[in-house]
């Protein structure tokens, strides 16, 4: 029999454990003590899991998480305005939504991004973007700010535009996803060859 003497331990609201083991004969006992302590914490934690009810889910009192979702937004005439397909969307109780591996289809524009954040004011910020329209010049940039209401988009990051026979690199871009034009700003360099 190996005696373990514990002065006291308590679980406060923040799940903090404080205890003092005064006397341990063998190192293995320390491991057993830790396992016992973690078990107690786990039980306490399970008992405190917040219940998800339809009411607080819809009111977004708690955050939620979507996998492989497609969000479609219609215009006043009921026509598809834009859609966002994402591998994951984190919707916190407050603040911006966080999207990963998403494809934005906005009228004729089709953008793929590794990450994105969507604010309450319909501003979508994308990171690591590639445009995907096969018939059009493809552009790649690290960062793009999009106003989903009017379709305007811009970046001051480096932009690369690939063509069949060459490319452009510019230091900024202004466009509207509803139009076919891209304005390259702040100097551009390109090479074209056979």
């Amino acid at each position: 029999m190996i005696p373990i003497v514990v002065d006291h331990f308590k679980l406060d609201n923040d799940l903090m454990l404080s205890g003092i083991i005064n006397y341990i004969y063998k190192p293995q006992i320390l491991g057993i003590a830790i396992i016992l302590s973690l078990s107690i914490i786990s039980i306490f934690n399970l008992n405190n899991t917040q219940n998800i009810t339809p009411t607080n889910f819809l009111n977004q009192e708690i955050g939620h998480y979507l996998r492989n979702s497609t969000t479609k937004v219609m215009d006043e005439a009921g026509q598809l305005f834009y859609s966002i397909r994402a591998e994951s969307i984190q919707v916190p109780p407050q603040g911006s939504m966080i999207l990963e591996s998403l494809t934005l289809e906005y009228l004729d524009s089709n953008l793929y991004a590794l990450r994105g954040t969507l604010n309450n004011d319909s501003r979508l910020t994308l990171a690591d973007i590639t445009s995907q329209n096969s018939s059009q010049a493809q552009f790649i940039t690290d960062n793009l700010e999009i106003d989903l209401v009017d379709g305007s988009a811009n970046t001051s990051s480096e932009v690369r535009i690939n063509f069949e026979n060459g490319y452009f690199i510019a230091n900024g871009l202004i466009t509207n996803l509803g139009s076919n034009t891209i304005e390259l700003i702040n100097g551009l360099y390109g090479e074209f060859g056979p």
Binding site: N133, S135, Q136, A137, I161, F163, E164, N165, G166, F168, A170, N180, T181, I182, E183, L184, I185, N186, G187, L188, Y189, G190, E191, F192, G193, P194
Partner: protein, 186 residues
């Protein structure tokens, strides 16, 4: 040993291919540009196009298709062109690329001017319209044209400078003006 030889050969081939690619490429620089993603047409501000030995710059440029295999560029404002034959200044113009090569161009100005690179003599031409044709290897000066070779001036409405022989000839006489030759005595 074989591995080292292979590596050296690969590096040599890579350098060779890079060098030839860079030489054949058309380099394009501009302050800003508006591209049409659907048609590949584009407009540029403060553009510079380089394709050795040609360098051309202008305030504005417009092209219907960025495919340089067959492209017509429309330029305007402070046009400067330099190539192996000399340098040109004009107000507006059009240049043609054929199979990624500069082939011919037409320029307008009051007047446009082409300073020819001649090792032994000062040669230049001025006219309201200058046509540069590399296929036929000549420069043609239309409308109030003047070509000066050292102290000899040629005036007319259509003068041709042959880039092979460095000789001046008269073009069509449909404009009704005879060619005038003046020898300027210092």
């Amino acid at each position: 040993m074989d591995c080292m030889v292979n590596l050296a050969l690969k590096i040599f081939l890579l350098l060779l291919s890079t060098a030839s690619f860079a030489q054949e490429n058309i380099i394009l620089e501009a302050e800003k540009s508006i591209l049409d993603r659907e048609s590949n047409s584009a407009s540029f501000e403060q553009i510079r196009i380089a394709r050795d030995p040609l360098v051309v710059s202008a305030d504005l440029a417009q092209v219907d298709n960025l495919d340089f295999s067959q492209t017509l560029w429309t330029l305007s404002g402070n046009i400067n062109l330099e190539n192996e034959f000399g340098s040109l200044m004009a107000d507006s113009g059009q240049i043609n690329f054929n199979n990624y090569q500069f082939s011919n161009a037409i320029f307008f100005g009051t007047p446009s001017r082409f300073d020819l690179l001649q090792s032994e003599q000062e040669t230049f031409g001025e006219a309201n319209r200058i046509e540069l044709n590399l296929d036929e290897r000549n420069i043609r000066f239309f409308d109030d044209a003047l070509i000066q070779v050292n102290n000899t001036q040629f005036r007319g409405c259509d003068l041709i400078f042959d880039l092979n022989t460095n000789r001046v000839t008269a073009g069509y006489s449909e404009c009704g003006e005879n060619i005038q030759i003046t020898i300027v005595v210092d």
